[in-house]
Subunit: 113 residues, 2 copies
Amino acid sequence: MSELSEHNHDRLIEEVSGEMPDDDMLYDLAELFHIFGDSTRIKILYALFESEMCVCAIAQLLNMNQSAISHQLRILKQSKLVGCRREGKTIYYHLSDDHVKTIINQGMQHINE
Amino acid sequence: MSELSEHNHDRLIEEVSGEMPDDDMLYDLAELFHIFGDSTRIKILYALFESEMCVCAIAQLLNMNQSAISHQLRILKQSKLVGCRREGKTIYYHLSDDHVKTIINQGMQHINE
DNA sequence: CTTTCATATGAATAACTGTTCATATGATAA
DNA sequence: TTATCATATGAACAGTTATTCATATGAAAG
């Protein structure tokens, strides 16, 4: 590698480095996408597009056992992607905000091309 | 559960079921997000926002060894998120399309709230 | 041809993750 | 209280994955 290109090489790295967000932010970002990166969770989120649902309804819809759904709902709740409300014995889950829809739809758009 | 609410319960499941995309599509969607769900890959993609870069530059920028970057680039290339061109011994990687930026920015927007 | 540089690849390993099973909690009804 | 229904949780297991190390490929230069 010539001295000139080596210079450019290092300059590029420095430049790009200056434009990169904090490591923490990039970590959080990866963590967010990681949540979406599981088909069960995507299905749950997609189901909640339509309306709030209780755990057993989601389990029935996805044809999976209640425990598996409950575990995934906990993860979704911890990351603030869903919320829930109690009504007697039943607990209804719902999407926290419309960002979830936007992100999933954006992904869908990418798939369909 | 009363007969009425049981009826509504089943009707809801049927309704939501009708609105759900194919399993295959949801699987692909999860797979797409799964790619973004790793901090090394996010960092690589973010770096390529600015300009194309060769493998060793990315490795240097992220302070990781060349092999690790190479492995991740292969995954990104397989999922068509990045492309590359050869120039002598050097191989330059770049983002495949602007969808990648859009998806990542959407995620960023969600984080910053 | 041989050396060198940039990149790719395979095997190995350690860490992580999703599901299941069994059981616990918590609310309602009897 | 006891029984029952809806949900949550912990432990265990199987499958997956990111990184490292060692080595291979492939291109250019000498």
